[in-house]
C-alpha cells in the first residue's frame, strides 16, 4: 500500500479531484497548507512598510492506494495539477505499513 501526497495550487483542487474520481478512487483527504518552494512568496506593503510573505497557500491531497495503482494515480494528479508555471507543486509516494477501516475493523487492502 502506498500513500500519495500531492501539494498543488489551490485552484487546481477541483480538476485533481475529478481526475482521481475518474480513476475510481474511493476517498481522499484535503488540507489547506502553507509553504514555499522555488516559487518563494510575494511582498505586501502597508503604509509603506514592506512585508515579505514567503509562505504561500497550497492544498495538500493525500490518497491511500494499493501498490498496483500508484503510477496511474501519480500521473493523473500530475496531469491535472500542471499549469506549466513555477509553483505547481510536488507529488510524492510513501510506503504504508498498515491501514484499518474504523467502522468495520477491516485491515490493509480491504480497508482501502
Amino acid at each position: 500500500m502506498k500513500l500519495v501526497t500531492a501539494i498543488i495550487k489551490p485552484f487546481k483542487l477541483e480538476e485533481v479531484k475529478i481526475a482521481l474520481e475518474n480513476l475510481g478512487i474511493q476517498g481522499l483527504t484535503v488540507s489547506e497548507v502553507s509553504g514555499f518552494g522555488r516559487q518563494r512568496g510575494h511582498t505586501e506593503v502597508y503604509r509603506g512598510a514592506e512585508y515579505t510573505v514567503d509562505l504561500v497557500p497550497k492544498v495538500k491531497i493525500e490518497v491511500l492506494v494499493g501498490t498496483v495503482d500508484v503510477t496511474k494515480v501519480v500521473d493523473a494528479v500530475t496531469e491535472a495539477a500542471r499549469t506549466g508555471k513555477i509553483g505547481d507543486g510536488k507529488v510524492w509516494v510513501t510506503d504504508v505499513d498498515a491501514v484499518v477501516r474504523v467502522r468495520t475493523g477491516e485491515r490493509d487492502e480491504d480497508a482501502l
Partner: protein, 477 residues
Amino acid sequence: MQPAILLAADPATATLDSGNTAWILASAALVLLMTPGLAFFYGGMVRAKNVLNMLMMNFICLAVVGVLWAFYGFSWSFGATRWGGLIGSSANFYGLGNPDVLDSLWGFGPIYKIGSTLPAGIATAGAGVPVLVFAMFQLMFAMITPALISGAIADRVKFWGWTLFVGIWVTVVYFPIANWVFGTGWILNKIRAEDFAGGTAVHINAGAAALALVFVLGKRVGWRRDPMKPHNVPFVLLGASLLWFGWFGFNAGSEGGADAIAGLAFTNTTIATCAATLGWLLVEQFRDGKPTTVGAASGAVAGLVAITPACAFVSPLGGMAIGFIAGILCALAVGLKYRFGFDDALDVVGVHLVGGLTGTILIGFFGFDHGALAGGVESKRGLFYGGGLKLLEVQVVAALSVLAYSFVITFIIGTALKKLGVFRVSEEVEITGLDESEHAESAYSFSTVLSGGLSHLTGSTSEPSESKSSELSGKGV
C-alpha cells in the same frame, strides 16, 4: 467652533430655533458614531490576537468621558473663563441637571470677547440651540479625542490602566484645551486663531499625546522583527468610511446651526477628503508601485483631519489643495517612525499630528474671507488672499501651544502611571495577545474542533454535549 458664545442682550427675546437644534442633535449622533468607526479603523490594523483590546480601548472612552462630562467636563470646557483664559468653570453646568441648563439656549453669534463675564445664568440667545444639545454635541468631541491616541500604543497597554489614563487625560489636557479653542479660553478669544472643528484641540492634541505615550511606553516586543501587518483590511476601510460619514457632523455641525457656513464646511469636508485620498494613493504608486486599500483609507482620514480646522475658512478649491497636500505629507510622514525608531503602532503621529498641523497652519495661507457669508463675524484672510502673515502667525502659535502643552502633560501622566506599574503589560501578556490576557475572549473562532470545550457552566444545568456534537457533525473531514 469659531463663533462661540453670544451674550444675550435680552434673554427674554431668545427663542428656540428648531432647524438649528435638529441639525446639532443629528450632528451629535453622527460624531458619536465616529468613535466606534475609529475602533474598526484601528481594529483592522492590529493583529488578530489584539483586535478586541483595540476596540475596547476606543469604546471605553465613550463610557468614561461621558460620565466625567456630566460631572464637570462641560463646565471646565465651556463655563465662564477663569485664570486668564486657561480654563472654564460655571456652577450652573456641574451635573448638567440644573433647571437653568434645561431651559436655556446656547448662543452662536459674534465671537465671545475676553474680559466679559458670563451672566449669572447662562449665555442665551444666538442661534437658539438648547444648552444640553450643545453639551451633547461637544461631548462627542471629548470622547473621540482620547480614543484617537489609542492607536499609537496599541498591543501593549493594560486595559484599566488605559481607562485611568483616559479619565486623567481628558481632565487635565482635553477639557482645558477645549476651553482655549472652542470655549471661553485664550486661543479663540485672545489671539483669535482659527480652528473651526478641532484641528488643534482634537488632532494636534491627540497626535502630540500619542507621541509622548509612545516614548513613555516604548516599543512592542518584536517590533521590526515580527510581522505586524493589518489582520483585517476590510475593517480598516469600513472604519474609515464610518469616520467620513460621522465627520460631516463633526465639521458641518461645528457651525452650531444649519446655514450656508455649515454647507461650506460640508463641501470642504467632502472635497478635501477626496483630494487627500488621491494624494496618498499617488505617493504609494510612485514609491511602492501599488495603490493599497489601507492607503486609501488612511488618505481619507488624513484629509478629514487636515480640513477639520479649515473647513469653514477656505474655499472649496482651497480645501482641495489642503486635502491634497495633507494626503501627500501624511503618506510620507508615516515612514518617519522607522527612521527615528519610535513604535507609533497605527501612525497616530503621522496622520493626526502631521495632518492637524498641516490643516491648522495652511489656514494661514488659504484663509478666505468667509465673513461676508457669516455676516458680522470678523473676517480673516491668509497669505494667498492678501491677508499678509498675521493669520499665519497666530495659527502657528495656536498649533505649537497645543502641541507643547499636550506633549508635556501627557508625558508626565504616562510616566507616573508607568512608574505605578498600571500601564504597560508584561512581555508574556503581549506575546499571548491582549484579547486573551486582558479580556478572556478571542475575536474569531474559525474551528469548532480546536476552540475547546466548556469547562464550567453558570446558570444552566444542561449538558453541552448535545449541541456540541450537532455542531461538529456538519463539519466533515
